[in-house]
Amino acid sequence: SQTIHQWPATLVQPVGSPLSLECTVEGTSNPNLYWYRQAAGRGLQLLFYSVGIGQISSEVPQNLSASRPQDRQFILSSKKLLLSDSGFYLCAWSSSGGPGDEQFFGPGTRLTVL
């Protein structure tokens, strides 16, 4: 069966510090991978998605970047965190790019920027 891992689970960082969140998927090959941010009362916002190694699409201009160095690894980064980067970050995967494919979410990372 497929599983998706995210770490760390919780992170508190000062403004201006760097960020690296990691997501890995097991039990599937060549998944589509997604990074979302969930802010209180604002629903899920798609940040990045990737259809393959080194292929990243950004949905919104922002302070964050994403990379996919391996087939089942997806990394969310920032060089300098802003207060507005606080939120709950979720990684998700789907089996392909088909419009009917379900997305499955990881456990999330709660980031607080102080």
Partner: protein, 113 residues
Amino acid sequence: QKEVEQDPGPLSVPEGAIVSLNCTYSNSAFQYFMWYRQYSRKGPELLMYTYSSGNKEDGRFTAQVDKSSKYISLFIRDSQPSDSATYLCAMSFPYYGNNRLAFGKGNQVVVIP
């Protein structure tokens, strides 16, 4: 107008009651409809998935889609305290070979024992 509208609630019901949740949408291109359940401080988990108008049942859960009215619903029968969670609707349509999901804001449900 947002693509997907979902009244965030919260909704409190006594144990055993029927929970009724709904979302409306504006884009008639949406073809696939999902409900996710999200417990506090956890990632969303897929609860129901459907792509046609009508009803789909899975145990105590029923998902209903009305494409003509652009309206989807989730019903939970015989609600249990363990059903207390936030429920998010989501929908997608073909978009350059990728499945882009549009989410509602989520509906917080509390089932009181």
